[in-house]
């Protein structure tokens, strides 16, 4: 095995094992930051050893054993005695003395709980949203600082600093490494779901930059969502979020044209939609609904996405149902953005005038000031009403507001198309 091969193999092992490793270690040392450092140390040891010795049969157990040795050493040297208790050393040693198969069992045991604790800690409300995202991708997704920086178009030192600060904040706030119960768990899970969906959305329609999509980030978010669904299988909203992401991801192949331009949902070639992901999404939605979560915000959005997924052609879309679902969503989580989407659905179900009425009521909404989709939707409805002059102005305004290059091009195209239709122009 060449060194390069070994490094790639180690990286792959890290992807698979790091979250369990960090979670398992955090249970012992009760500090997520320290656990990550220990895991990283074990990774370095693997990078030194494995190119010569080959990847061991059970790389996860090897990494865990190495990390625990280091934890004991570090604690013995007294460097960490201020922070930790001797009791932890004892616990670690007791585990270490057992035979390897038992060690493996010790890793497997509670692994679900450990992972859940880890994701709840990484998404703790004491952290800023950016810190939660970075920490989740780092600790749960096994992404390197460089990969996170590339995904979010920020510099590597910025990400590194965010992670360091986040770990310090967690330690200073004495955030316990535990799974809260009842209402607190629900609230914390909501934070986790929000972080995962944020990661997905950043990959699905990048807010800035030259690329419309960063599919790898979508895959990371989907994976995190699926892991979470395995950890808390009885939480309907987790399945709702997974359903939403699976169905949205099923369209990725269809929503970008050959030269990278975005293609709107109704113009997408549905034959390009990924049937496997749609199938998975619909199944997850069913699970969410079966658990009584039909009115959860993510399940509702997934139900809307499912209406599109079930329609074989754009014309077959059940817009009346979509408008009704947006109506429920507007009750559950009232927001100007939901209202804007409801306007689109109303426009499709009952004609552009019905949609425009709702949109016009939103134009004075301060929260939507500077939001490019408001003029974009308004432009679309106006164009359908053949008020092309007004439509053009709206598309141009939308184009000036978006930060995404590809989207700007699309909007300017639509503005230009309005100019080409003066013959039907109404005064």
């Amino acid at each position: 095995m060449t060194a390069a091969d070994a490094h790639r193999a180690i990286h792959a092992v890290w992807r698979i094992e790091s979250a369990r490793l960090i979670a398992g270690l955090a249970r012992f040392v009760r500090d997520v930051g320290l656990a990550e450092e220990l895991a990283q140390d074990a990774l370095v040891a693997a990078l030194e050893r494995w190119p010569e010795s080959g990847v061991p049969d059970n790389p996860g157990a090897w990494l865990m054993a190495t990390a625990k040795h280091r934890a004991v050493d570090a604690l013995r040297r007294g460097k960490l005695l201020e922070r930790k208790h001797e009791e932890i050393v004892y616990q670690l040693e007791a585990r270490q003395e057992r035979a390897t198969p038992e060690l493996e069992a010790a890793i497997d045991e509670n692994v679900g709980d450990d992972l859940l604790r880890l994701v709840l800690t990484a998404c703790h409300p004491v952290l800023s949203t950016e810190a939660r995202v970075a920490l989740t991708l780092r600790l749960l997704g096994g992404l390197t600082t460089e990969e996170i920086a590339r995904a979010f178009l920020v510099s590597e030192p910025t990400v590194a600093q965010r992670i360091v600060r986040a770990k310090r904040t967690l330690a200073e706030a004495h955030v316990p490494f535990e799974v809260p119960r009842g209402a607190e768990l629900t609230a914390r899970l909501a934070s986790v779901l929000q972080v995962i969906y944020l990661i997905f959305n950043e990959g699905y329609s990048a807010t800035a930059g030259d690329d419309w999509m960063r599919p790898e980030l979508c895959e990371d978010a989907l994976r995190l969502g699926r892991i979470l669904a395995g950890l808390v299988p009885n939480e309907p909203e987790v399945h709702g979020l997974v359903a939403l992401m699976e169905i949205q991801a099923s369209r990725s192949r269809a929503r970008v044209g050959p030269s990278g331009e975005p293609i709107l949902l109704l113009e997408q070639k549905r034959s390009l939609w990924d049937r496997i992901l749609i199938h998975r999404g619909l199944a997850a939605l069913e699970r969410a609904e079966a658990l009584g979560g039909a009115r959860g915000p993510y399940a509702l959005q997934a139900a809307i996405a499912a209406c599109h997924a079930r329609a074989r052609t754009a014309e077959e879309t059940d817009w009346v149902r979509i408008a009704a679902l947006y109506g429920v969503l507007a009750q559950v989580t009232p927001s100007p953005v939901v209202e804007l989407n409801r306007a689109v659905a109303l426009g499709m179900a009952f004609g552009p005038a019905a949609g425009l009425e709702v949109v016009d009521a939103l134009t004075s909404e301060p929260a939507l000031e500077g939001y490019h989709l408001l003029p974009s939707v308004r432009g679309d409805l106006l164009a359908k009403l053949e008020r092309f002059n007004e439509a053009r102005e709206e598309f141009e305004r939308a184009a000036s507001l978006t930060r995404n290059t590809r989207e700007r091009e699309l909007l300017l195209d639509r503005a230009a198309a309005c100019v080409r239709k003066p013959s039907t122009q109404r005064q």
């Binding site: 790639r8 792959a12 698979i16 599919p215 699926r226 395995g230 050959p258 998975r280």
Partner: protein, 143 residues
């Protein structure tokens, strides 16, 4: 990226030998791990080729050949689809699979094409367009 993981057929699988409880449990545990790690997208086991058939193409002619087929090692007994970051990760996962057969067996790892794969060799998007037409056709035929 996605990989299709192909479990190659063996004499046993072709003879319709079913896994015993121990192997079944081991495979189920493995599948569970894949699901919990969020990497398993799809997967199925396949009946022996004796229950299958082949359609051979020669110009406009079609001829149907019923199974079983002779070249056991070239046949597929089951598949998974993984969503992972790299081929190495797919390999790591496959290495963790219990031997799916009672005899020597082999699992093949093949990457699934994605739109981005064509971007470099298809700067004008011409091939991509053809591919879309093809998919549209197969879709309309499936209806």
């Amino acid at each position: 990226m996605r990989f299709m993981i192909l479990v190659k057929a063996t004499k046993d699988s072709e003879a319709g030998v079913m896994p015993d409880e121990k192997l079944l449990t081991a495979m189920m545990k493995y599948n569970e791990e894949l699901v919990k790690a969020g990497v398993l997208v799809a997967g199925e086991g396949l009946h022996p080729s004796s229950k299958g058939a082949r359609v051979k193409f020669s110009g406009d002619k079609r001829s149907v050949v019923d199974g079983p087929f002779a070249e056991t090692k070239e046949l597929v007994a089951g598949f998974w689809i993984f969503q992972v970051k790299s081929k190495e990760e797919a390999i790591e996962w496959v290495k963790r699979c219990p031997n799916p057969m009672y005899e020597e067996s082999e699992i093949e790892i093949r990457q699934v094409f994605e739109a981005a794969d064509f971007a470099e060799s298809d700067p004008t998007g011409e091939i991509r367009k053809k591919e879309e037409e093809l998919r549209a056709m197969s879709e309309s035929r499936n209806r």
